[in-house]
Amino acid sequence: MSGARTRRLVIGVGNPERGDDAAGRAVARLLPGTLPADVEIAEGDGEATSLLAQIEACGTAVLVDASASGAPAGTVRRFDVAAAPLPQDAGSLSSHGLGLAAAIELARALGQLPPRCVVYAIEGASFTDGEPLSPAVAAAVDDVAGRLRAEFGPPTATEG
């Protein structure tokens, strides 16, 4: 866990069985093979301490989650959380209990926040059990996957 923090990680956060809450995980599932080889891709349910364990040794962490802020469905917002906490009105779905926002602030309080830490929030429309992604959110999932590819560069661009 010590040494240079060079690990790069993308985590799709959400509940895969609750409609648009699956958006973050859907993004993660589009990424394998399309990012530089050193970028790890993971999924999580958003529980704060598990998320913290995933990101604590990383130099770069990008978290993708669904949001319910009242914005139009499919709205994509990007937050540089290394610079500032998630805004209160970000509507992070996993904010109930100890979720994504808590993981980030806990990491910050402990000095374990990755130097580069970004959250993508995809505004959901429906969080009904067992439902698929709504069309606007499915489109946003493709959009975010594309933006992540742009952030990290093509698969061939590994270090060295």
């Binding site: 509940n15 301490t49 364990a53 209990g97 309080a109 059990d129 067992g130």
Partner: protein
């Protein structure tokens, strides 16, 4: 494992909505009511018509914090209905898996939810700024539990490797070796945790609780044992309904459990500990003594110490299981469907979790009933509030709200997370 969509009402991850109403008249608490939205009732309906083999995975989704407990009560109840006994290494692996969940769940509660109450912080993040070393210790300790559940359960959250009769896949000795190293370190951290929480300042409150927990001939209870109380109750799980009853209260979607003719009772760490102190490992017993606990504990504010002792025990027990482990020939016992009924109770981190099923001849679930620990503790939580809060009434509303929340969190109810946003309706007349 085949992938499939399980349609469930997944509100459980929110751990319920809760509110608290305290009515004070003439300087005395007249009533204290906790309202809980609780999901298991939806699952009982959902289980009807499904195959008996699906119950572990469906019920695991009731709670994001204690899926193993739901799986364990489900498989034991099914095995009871089908006349199957699972012993040897498979039984030991179930104990190991349960150790993992206790470590995860208790450590989360101790460090993230309950300790801030004692140290005067609004929550874990504020506490982490000034008690970073302690919080890091808690996070590291919890990882040992995560590692066990990930190894045996197939993944950290919502384990998928448990089935009626055993497991889909069992680990080799080599798979478990890294866990043992991790647990050796975790055991030290657990001991430090007991010492840390023992130094907190506890309100001096106690009641003459009716404690209810499992008790086993040799073991500190996880999966097996009779349901016993400190009033002489000693019954198998199959007799649960003859001794306990549930009733609806309008303020809560949770049913209230009571002893038939006997009022409220308490399940969870305090009850387990007080009924099974002699079954703890020598290390855990010694740590409890050093922490100032007796062989029983009736102060619910000290439940955080008891939880820490149980985490230490779970590390110790997990190491014992791993050291003695020899893989079984088969990962699962042969299970054939038949008509019947089966019941089981196991010890979820927050207390006794009872499942009862009735099966058709082809193994279809005809009826399911689940009694979670929080529903059993709800009358006791309200009784604690009614009797303890009197002594705190001179506090201003904000401080009093905090005391009320702390009193609810003593139970680590499945509303723990939501309880940080507990709505307190204080009616002072």
């Amino acid at each position: 494992m085949a992938s499939r969509t399980i349609k469930v009402n997944y509100l459980a991850r929110v751990e319920g909505e809760s509110g608290l109403k305290v009515v004070v008249r003439d300087g005395k608490v007249r009533s204290a009511e906790l309202s809980i939205f609780e999901p298991p009732r939806f699952f009982e309906a959902l289980l009807r018509g499904r195959a008996f083999t699906e119950a572990p995975d469906i019920t695991a989704r009731i709670c994001g914090i204690c899926p193993v407990a739901y799986q364990m009560s489900a498989v034991h109840a099914m095995e009871n209905a089908l006349g199957v006994a699972v012993g040897g290494p498979l039984r030991e692996l179930r104990r190991l898996l349960y150790c993992g969940e206790w470590i995860e769940s208790h450590t989360l509660h101790i460090y993230m939810l309950h300790a801030p109450d004692f140290l005067g912080y609004a929550g874990a993040i504020d506490m982490a700024r000034e008690h970073g070393d302690a919080v890091r210790r808690g996070l590291e300790l919890k990882k040992a539990g995560n590692a066990i559940v990930a190894c045996l359960g197939g993944r950290e959250i919502h384990p998928i490797n448990v089935r009626v009769g055993g497991f889909y896949r069992v680990p080799s000795r080599r798979d478990l070796a890294p866990l043992a190293e991790h647990l050796e370190r975790a055991r030290d951290l657990a001991l430090d945790t007991v010492r840390w929480v023992a130094g907190f300042d506890f309100p001096d409150r106690a009641r003459d609780y009716v404690f209810v927990a499992l008790r086993h001939a040799r073991e500190y209870p996880f999966n097996e044992g009779h349901i016993v109380s400190n009033r002489g109750l000693d019954i198998p799980a199959s007799a649960y309904d003859a001794h306990f009853e549930e009733s609806h209260v309008t303020r809560s979607t949770a049913l209230h459990s009571q002893l038939r003719g006997g009022g409220s009772y308490l399940v969870g760490p305090l009850a387990r500990y007080s009924l099974n102190f002699d079954r703890l490992s020598p290390l855990a017993q010694a740590a409890a003594r050093d922490a100032g606990l007796g062989a029983t504990c009736t102060n619910p504010y000290q439940s955080i110490v008891v939880r820490a002792v149980e985490v230490l025990y779970a590390c110790d027990e997990a190491l014992r299981v791993i050291a003695a482990y020899e893989p079984p020939d088969q990962p699962v016992a042969i299970v054939a469907p038949r008509a019947g009924t089966g019941q089981a109770a196991t010890e979820a981190p927050r207390g006794l979790l009872y499942h009862s099923y009735r099966l058709e001849a082809d193994g279809t679930i005809a009826d399911a009933r689940i009694v979670p620990p929080t529903s059993q503790n709800q009358p006791s939580i309200e009784a604690d509030l009614a009797s303890y809060i009197d002594g705190f009434l001179d506090l201003p509303d904000e401080a009093l709200r905090h005391r009320c929340e702390q009193t609810v969190r003593n139970y680590d109810p499945c509303i723990s997370c939501a309880a940080h946003f507990l709505r307190l309706d204080m009616d002072r007349g």
